[in-house]
Subunit: 439 residues, 2 copies
C-alpha cells in the first residue's frame, strides 16, 4: 500500500498500545460507543459549524495498515507481533452517525457517534478529532465572516499563513461556510472549490513601472482582471489602471492603509473616470470585526487570509472523543452499559446520545435537545444525527455544495442573536433529557 495514502499512522501512539493491551485482556471486541462533542464553544461564540465530515469519511476508508506501516510499528517496538497481525487485517466494520456537514452545533452536541468493537473505534480517535477540530474551527470562524459581510462575496486567501495541508482543508471549510472562492489551487482540484486570484506587489515591482506591470497583466488576463493599486500611490495607480484597461476594468485591490477611507476615495475616483462597474477588493488582516466595520464603505469583495485559517482567535474547536457506553463482554449480544469518567472538572455523561433541534412556532430554533436514549420527535423538532457509515461502508457521502446549502439554511433558522459578533452565550441552550432505554 502506498504510504502517502494510508491515514493509519496519523494516530497517537497510545491508541495502538491500548489496542494491544485490550487484545490481550480479551476486551478489544467489546462493542463500544464513542461520541465527539465540545464541552463548550470558544469564548463568546454563539454557535459552531460542523465541517470535515466528508474528510473523515475519506480518512476512514484509507485507514489501513500496509506493510510499510506495520514494519515501522514492529521495528520500533510500538506493538507486538499479534497486534501487528490484527492491524494488518483491520477494516473498520462499525457504524457512524453524525450531524450532517454544514449543520450548526452547540455545547455537548454529539456531532459524531461511533459504534464498533472497542479496538476499531479507539483507533479512529486521533484522526477523527484532528480533522473535525481543525475544520470545525475554520468553518465556525468563516461563518461569522460570511454573516459580517452581509451578502458581499469573500475570497479565502490564507494558504500562506498555515500548514500547507491545513490550507487545503481550510479552503474547503470556508467554502462550506459561505465563502465564494479560494486562492488555494489544491482545494480547487481536490474539492472543487472555485479558485480566484489577483496579483501581488512583486509583480508590479518586477516591471519597470506600475504602468508596465498593469499593461502586462491586462495583456495576459484581460480587462476583467483585478489590478493591485497600492504598491506606490493608490490614486495614481487607479488612474493608470482605468487609462489602460478602460471603464470595464474588472476590479482593483487595496491591501493597506485605512481600507474604508481608501475604498471611498477609490470609488469616487473610479466613478469619476467612468469605471462605475469596476469593483473594489479589500484585503489586509481582515477578520469578522474588520469586515463588519467596512459595511458602509463601498467595498465589493473581501479577501481574508490569516484570521480565517487561524480560526479568528479559536484555532481548534476543542472537540473530544469520549467512550460513553460499552458492552459487558465481547459477545455480540452482550448488553451495553453507560460509562463515564469522574475526573475533576472534566466529567463525562455516560450513555449514548441522540440529538434534535427544537423550533418555535415561527420556525426559529429555540433549543438543542440532547437525550440519552431515543426520543419521540415532537412536531417542531428535527433529528440531527444521520447515518454516515453502516457496517463499515460509507453511506453518508455528499457533494460539498450540499453541505454549503445546508449551512446557509441552518444559520437562517437560528435566532437573530446568533448573528451578533459580540461575545455572548450560545444562540440556543442545550437541554438534556433522559428518554429512557432505546426501543
Amino acid at each position: 500500500m502506498d504510504l502517502d495514502n494510508s491515514t493509519a499512522l496519523l494516530t497517537d501512539h497510545y491508541e495502538l498500545t491500548m489496542v494491544q493491551a485490550a487484545l490481550r485482556s480479551g476486551t478489544a471486541g467489546r462493542r463500544a460507543v464513542f461520541e465527539v462533542f465540545a464541552r463548550r464553544l470558544p469564548e463568546g461564540r454563539r454557535y459552531g459549524v460542523v465541517a470535515g465530515t466528508g474528510r473523515v469519511l475519506d480518512a476512514i476508508e484509507r485507514f489501513r495498515f500496509g506493510d510499510a506501516e506495520l514494519e515501522w510499528l514492529t521495528g520500533n517496538g510500538v506493538v507486538d507481533a499479534p497486534t501487528a497481525e490484527w492491524l494488518a487485517g483491520f477494516r473498520f466494520s462499525g457504524d457512524i452517525w453524525g450531524y450532517p456537514e454544514g449543520e450548526c452545533y452547540f455545547p455537548e452536541s454529539p456531532i459524531m457517534v461511533v459504534e464498533a468493537p472497542f479496538a476499531e473505534a479507539v483507533l479512529l480517535e486521533t484522526v477523527v478529532l484532528s480533522i473535525l477540530n481543525h475544520d470545525c474551527a475554520i468553518a465556525s470562524a468563516a461563518s461569522r465572516m460570511v454573516n459580517a459581510a452581509a451578502g458581499r462575496p469573500l475570497i479565502e486567501m490564507g494558504a500562506r499563513r498555515t500548514h500547507e495541508g491545513a490550507a487545503v482543508a481550510a479552503a474547503r471549510a470556508a467554502y462550506l461556510a459561505g465563502f465564494a472562492t479560494t486562492s488555494d489551487l489544491e482545494a480547487g482540484r481536490r474539492y472543487g472549490v472555485p479558485t480566484a486570484g489577483t496579483a501581488a506587489h512583486a509583480f508590479t515591482l518586477l516591471h519597470d513601472s506600475e504602468r508596465h506591470a498593469f499593461r502586462a497583466q491586462l495583456a495576459s488576463l484581460g480587462e476583467g482582471t483585478t489590478l493591485l493599486v497600492d504598491t506606490y500611490d493608490v490614486e495614481r495607480a487607479v488612474r493608470t489602471a482605468v487609462e489602460l484597461a478602460g471603464p470595464s476594468l474588472g476590479a482593483v485591490r487595496i491591501d493597506s492603509g485605512d481600507l474604508g477611507a481608501v475604498a471611498r476615495r477609490t470609488r469616487e475616483l473610479l466613478d469619476s473616470l467612468g469605471a462605475t462597474d469596476t469593483r473594489i477588493v479589500v484585503t489586509g488582516d481582515l477578520d469578522e470585526y474588520g469586515i463588519a466595520a467596512l459595511a458602509a464603505a463601498p467595498v465589493d469583495v473581501y479577501g481574508v487570509g490569516t484570521k480565517l485559517v487561524t480560526g479568528s482567535g479559536a484555532p481548534t474547536a476543542s472537540l473530544v472523543y469520549k467512550l460513553v457506553a460499552r458492552a459487558d463482554s465481547a459477545e455480540p449480544d452482550a448488553p451495553m452499559r453507560p460509562v463515564a469518567k469522574r475526573s475533576a472538572g472534566k466529567p463525562t455523561r455516560g450513555g449514548r446520545k441522540s440529538a434534535l433541534r427544537r423550533l418555535d412556532g415561527h420556525g426559529v430554533a429555540c433549543a438543542e435537545v440532547v437525550s440519552i436514549g431515543e426520543p419521540v420527535l415532537g412536531p417542531r423538532e428535527r433529528p440531527l444525527l444521520v447515518p454516515l457509515v453502516r457496517d463499515g461502508e460509507v453511506v453518508g457521502r455528499e457533494p460539498l455544495t450540499a453541505a454549503r446549502e445546508r449551512h446557509a439554511a441552518a444559520v437562517r433558522e437560528l435566532p437573530p442573536t446568533a448573528l451578533q459578533l459580540s461575545a455572548g452565550d450560545p444562540a440556543i441552550p442545550t437541554e438534556f433529557v433522559n428518554a429512557g432505554p432505546r426501543p
Copy 2:
C-alpha cells in the same frame, strides 16, 4: 507523476497567473531576489525559532507539474497553453540561502533568501510561507515551553487538536525545539521523532473495573508503563497501581484537577508505598505559563497538546515573502536593482540582505545585524545565512537532531531576558546597516 507527491498545487492561484503574465511580457526571466522575514514577533515574544527548512527543501524537490496538475490547470482556465508548457518543464534552478533550522530569529531577520528567475521564485512563495509560518510558530511556542520546563522532559501530544498533516509537522517542530517525544506516529516514521504514549480514560472505562484495566495494561506493556490514575479517584487508583505493578511502576499520569496539588499528594503517596522511582506525568491544557507554575511541584514529565499545536496564542509566524531586488532585463548579466513597495503601514526595504549575530565579550548575543550588501565580519560576529539550494540542487539538508542541537545552543547564547515568559521586547535589537555593494 503521483498526485499525492507533487506540491505544485499547494500554491495560490495568482502565482500562476503572474507567471503567465510575466511570460507574455518578457519579464519572467528577470533574475529576482525574494526574502522571507517577519515584520515583528508575535505580541510580547522575545525571539522566534526557525523551523521547517528541511520540509521546505523536500517541498521544492517535489514541486513539479505532472500531467494531472496541468490538465486541471488548463481545464479550469487557470493558465493558458504556453504557460502550461512552461510549467511542464519547470524545475527550480536557482539558489536559496537561509538561517539554518533551529536558529533564533528577530524582527526583519531574512530567514530565507531565494534568488532565481522571477517566474521560478514567485511560484514557490505560497508553499514556502505555509511551511515556515506553521513550523516557526510551533517551534517558537515549543521553545518557550522547553525553557519553562527547566530540564524536565516534555511530550508533544497535540495531534488531535490540529489538522492531521499539521500535527506531523508540529511534532517535528516541537522536537526540534527540545521536546523529548511525540504521540504522533507519523512524525516518528517520517522524521524519526521518538514516540511515546500512556493510556486514555476510555481504556479504564472499557474494563469492568480500574483494577481490571490496570492489570490488562501491565500484562501487555510491562511495569514500566504509565498508568492513568484520574478516571475515578486518584488516591485509590495510585494505591491499586502500585499494588499491581509493584514499586517499579514506570509512571502515573494525572490529567485533571489542580495539577500541582494532586502531584504533591501523589508523590507523597507513591513514596509512602515505596514507589520512589515512579514518575509523575501531568497533562491537561498546559502552556508555558502552566508549566512554569508547576516548577516547584514534584512533576517529572509534562504532556502538552492544544497549546503547542496552536502556537500558544500565536498560530502563525506572520512571515512574508517579498521581492527586494530584480534585474533590469532577462539578460543573464543584467544589473540587479533594489525594489520596495511603499504601501501604507507595510513598506519593505529594497536590496538583498545579509545577516549576522553580534556577541559581546562574554559570548552573549547583543544584536541582530541585517545589512544590505555583504558586510565584513567582525571578530565577535557570526554569519547567519547558509546555502540551502545551489543551482536548483539541495545542498543544505541535515538530520533533524542537528537542528535540535543548534537550537539549544542558539538559546543558550541569548541574553537572560530571552527566557522571560512575560511579554516584552525582542531579546536583542535588530540593527540595519548599509554595507555597500556586494563584492
